[in-house]
């Protein structure tokens, strides 16, 4: 399927059929029976269609490409929703010209840990849908079935340069359910926001939360947590065996877990303490799956080499700490230490877990960068930019599509008023799949249905 689309797309580029862009995307959306078998029969597939876009060239900007490079006086040309050329003094025909002099350009910022939509604003009981805290194992629930498409928080994140975010269930359970990766676009339905053809994820949680929530019925200890994971994986293995004899058998909890064992669903594991992360790696080895990313890992720096060796990303805050015992051993150099492990092969990510923090991931990266330098590491701004672009894309299995500025990738692009590592810089324009989604100068942004009738002062 993907190959076929690529072929069509390549043909479009070759023949320059710009008018057919939207057709391509409509076709992709409609025909998209996902490769991930648990998205049964395509029922839950993405129906995302990009906004109309025009071919655009940004001239003479300072570019962080998200892949660790910085280019000065650089041009970026995007057409048909994809990045088509980068370089100096690009010659392009009939494109909208944007003067990027004095501006910075980065890939769209990606937050791989958000609860927007499942904990929307206003935060009231009636729409608090993030934690199915009824059983330690709710691998059967999907965050996308809780997401409220009218959450007014999306556009605030957009104004901070967020073009993609990963919505996870909460951390009450050992297995919290499936996460979903969304493009930061308005949609009346959740599939209208879903990032097309990308892996599902599974939220797991270590430590204090599950043992606190289930203290009366168990697990009530960390060893109880571990027994809970292992029993569940054994159950998943049994389910897989049964499927061989009875392929039509349905068990949506185990379908998620088998998806992990088969390498199709990526594990995103909330886990603070270093020793617990190491235990979780042991469990993954016992059952033959891979942890994509540890989230929150306040102690990740203590096992930075282990994480680098295992190819596991750590999604971290710059400086949150102290709200729980397992979040006590903080260092603001955490992200830098993880990044620099094993000769700079670590995969460090700045995540938000916050509808406020997601609006300023660039600022969180700046603080982490400063702490890394203070700890003696020689880290460049272009390297730190990978913490909020390339690395979260890798963690979510979407790096082939977005996360860096490279020819052929989705034109998810932010133009900043100045250096994004400065507190004074603002995202001025945000493009998603080549379409202008936010423009600070003209106050152009999406407004959800919820915003209507409320913000009467806005824009006056």
């Amino acid at each position: 399927m993907i190959k076929k689309l690529l072929a069509i797309f390549t043909a479009l580029i070759l023949f320059g059929c710009t008018e057919q862009t939207s057709t391509l995307f409509v076709g992709e959306a409609e025909g998209s029976v996902t490769n991930y078998e648990n998205d049964t029969h395509g029922t839950y597939a993405s129906t995302y269609v990009p906004l109309p876009s025009e071919n655009t060239v940004i001239r003479n900007a300072t570019v962080f490409d998200g892949d660790g490079n910085k280019f000065i006086n650089y041009d970026i040309y995007f057409s048909d929703g994809k990045i088509s050329a980068m370089g100096r003094d690009l010659v392009v025909e009939s494109a909208k010209e944007i003067d990027g002099t004095g501006k910075y350009v980065t890939p769209g910022i990606i937050d791989n840990h958000s609860h927007m939509g499942v904990y929307p604003a206003p935060g009231v009981r009636t729409s608090s849908d993030g934690n199915e805290a009824t059983s330690p194992n709710t691998a059967e629930v999907w965050a996308e079935h809780s997401v409220w498409s009218q959450d007014p928080q999306y556009k605030l994140a957009l104004a901070g340069g967020i073009t993609t975010f990963h919505v996870l269930p909460g951390s009450a359970n050992l297995f919290g359910g499936r996460g979903v990766t969304l493009k930061n676009v308005s949609g009346n339905t959740v599939p209208d926001m879903k990032f097309p053809d990308v892996p599902h994820s599974l939220k797991m949680a270590c430590g204090e939360n599950p043992k606190r929530v289930y203290s009366s019925r168990g697990p009530s200890t960390r060893m109880g947590n571990v027994a809970g994971y292992r029993n569940a994986w054994i159950g998943a293995e049994n389910h897989r065996d049964r499927l061989e004899k009875d392929p039509s058998h349905r068990d949506i909890k185990n379908e998620t877990l088998v998806g992990v064992l088969d390498g199709e669903i990526l594990v995103h594991n909330h886990c603070y303490r270093a020793d617990e992360m190491a235990t979780m790696i042991n469990i993954s080895q016992e059952f033959g799956y891979k942890v994509s990313t540890f989230h929150h890992g306040v102690e990740a720096y203590k096992i930075a080499n282990l994480l680098a060796d295992e190819g596991i990303c750590a999604a971290l805050w710059a400086d949150w700490w102290g709200f729980k015992h397992e979040a006590y051993d903080m260092t603001i150099a955490n992200i830098a230490i993880v990044d620099q492990a094993r000769g700079g092969t670590g995969c460090a990510i700045v995540h938000s877990d916050s509808a406020s923090g997601i609006q300023r991931l660039n600022q969180e990266a700046a603080k982490a960068l400063a702490a890394g330098r203070e700890a003696g590491f020689d880290i460049s701004e272009q390297r730190a930019m990978t913490w909020i672009t390339k690395n979260p894309a890798k963690s979510l299995g979407i790096l082939e599509k977005t996360g860096t500025l490279e020819n052929g990738k989705d034109a998810d692009i932010v133009i900043w008023s100045g250096n994004p590592f400065s507190v004074y810089s603002k995202a001025e324009q945000v493009y998603i799949d080549g379409a202008l989604a936010f423009d600070k100068a003209t106050n152009f942004m999406p407004h959800t249905d919820f915003d209507l009738g409320v913000k009467e002062w806005e824009g006056k």
């Binding site: 935060g123 204090e208 949150w320 051993d329 150099a333 700890a375 003696g376 810089s425």
Partner: protein, 419 residues
């Protein structure tokens, strides 16, 4: 004029023993209403004694070369510093009380050795106004505490009585306003200090609010204008009602949070009421804050409202020093830079009428922070912190952890040296 001042100073300098005499030379110094200007600062016996364009080198004491650095007054934050070690561990949390409410002063539990105190001190915080968290009708009183090292800290207070107003699960906000009116008139009419302990106000009703004589005395201080009423309130119409209430009761008022303050900015300004807020609060996180916006600070400032900033995002209790990030963002939103710095230094001192803190002026406490760069920038760092003229130890657990996992990696971690 300058010479005259130096002459006046001379005998004093001669008498000074030099032990706690410091001359900070060559920095850009933040002077309220002026901004950063090149000044030298002379500190003796815990006080700033001279701030001038050029001060001759002193013969005794320390001359500190701070050429090219930035000096601000120490940051004054609103936080639970020293009262809360680990949020989810009640054993380490001294911010609240079920016994007392209005009369509760959590600052009496202050722990100078809290890791959060040490971290925040190393990030430029020199004092905190505690946020009380009692569970009753009032959450307690505000007290100003310096966060210097050692066992003794200077305090000022009580500075205000904190309550909140707005949405609630049970009674209408109308009833809550009536309740406050009735409570205040009860305290006014029973003013002989003979409140029976554990009085249940309005006995016979279903309300569960209890007040001890300690609580009533605190309320009386508000009625006697000895300290202001500090109200956490967000909805624009609620703000107007609270202002009207305070005017009718003839009590001093400070607003806290005020997410929709911008909609009634002129009314707040006309009432002369200051606002304490986090400029980053732009999410319609409750139905009382549907109009929350990044523009809150600029609109309030345009109307002439005096503001103080705090940082409440994420783990704000432990990262109160990030008030600099809130202030920096307010500049990005259009607030005047000097106003932003004042909002985390001198404005809070003015709002609470604190004595001799918040400004770099002769006669003021020498609570100073030396920064390598613009204090509001995310990548600037603190090089020196002085509280009451004493250079503070900036070491902290987070630095030790960083060192432990970046140095001497050939040794087992628990045998790496602790310097």
């Amino acid at each position: 004029m300058k010479i005259l001042r130096l002459l006046l100073l001379l005998p004093f300098l001669v008498l000074a023993d030099g032990d706690d005499l410091y001359l900070l030379k060559g920095a850009k110094v933040f002077i309220a209403d002026e901004g950063f200007v090149a000044k030298d600062i002379l500190v003796d016996d815990g006080k700033i004694i001279l701030v001038d364009d050029f001060i001759e080198n002193i013969e005794t004491g320390d001359v500190i070369d701070v050429q090219g650095k930035f000096i601000t007054p120490g940051l004054l934050v609103f936080s639970s510093l020293g009262l809360l070690e680990i949020g989810a561990l009640p054993e380490t949390n001294d911010t609240g009380s079920d016994i007392y409410n209005a009369g509760f002063d959590p600052s009496r539990a202050y722990n100078p050795f809290s890791q959060a105190v040490r971290l925040n001190r190393s990030k430029g915080v020199t004092s905190t106004v505690n946020i009380p968290g009692a569970s009753g009708y009032f959450s307690g009183m505000l007290t100003y505490t310096k966060i210097n090292g050692g066992m003794k800290q200077k305090k000022q207070g009580p500075l205000g009585l904190v309550t909140s107003y707005g949405q609630s699960y049970n009674d209408s906000r109308a009833a809550n306003l009536m309740y406050m009116e009735d409570l205040f008139s009860y305290v006014r009419t029973n003013h002989d200090d003979n409140y029976a302990d554990m009085t249940q106000f309005m006995l016979g009703t279903t309300n569960e609010y209890k007040f001890t004589s300690r609580d009533f005395k605190a309320i009386k201080k508000v009625l006697d204008n000895e300290m202001p009423l500090v109200v956490k309130v967000n909805k624009a119409t609620d703000i107007l009602n609270v202002i009207k209430f305070a005017e009718a009761q003839e009590v001093d008022l400070i607003l806290w949070e005020a997410n929709e303050g911008h909609m009634v900015a002129n009314e707040i300004a006309q009432a002369g009421v200051p606002v304490i807020l986090d400029p980053l609060n732009n999410i319609p996180s409750t139905f009382d804050s549907l109009n929350a916006t990044y523009e809150n600070v600029t609109r309030l400032n345009d109307a002439g409202v005096v503001m103080a900033f705090y940082y409440e995002q994420g783990a704000g209790a432990h990262n109160a020093y990030l008030a600099t990030q809130s202030a920096g963002n307010s500049v990005a939103m259009g607030l005047d830079y000097n106003e932003a710095i004042s909002s985390i230094t001198s404005n809070p001192a003015d709002i609470f009428g604190l004595i001799n803190v918040g400004y770099i002026l002769p006669g003021y406490d020498a609570d100073l922070v030396v920064w390598d760069n613009d204090p509001l920038e995310l990548m600037s760092s603190v090089e020196m912190v002085m509280i009451d003229g004493e250079k503070q130890d900036l070491s902290n657990r987070y630095k030790e952890l960083t060192d432990r996992y970046t140095k001497e990696l050939d040794k087992p971690n628990s045998y790496r040296s602790r310097e």
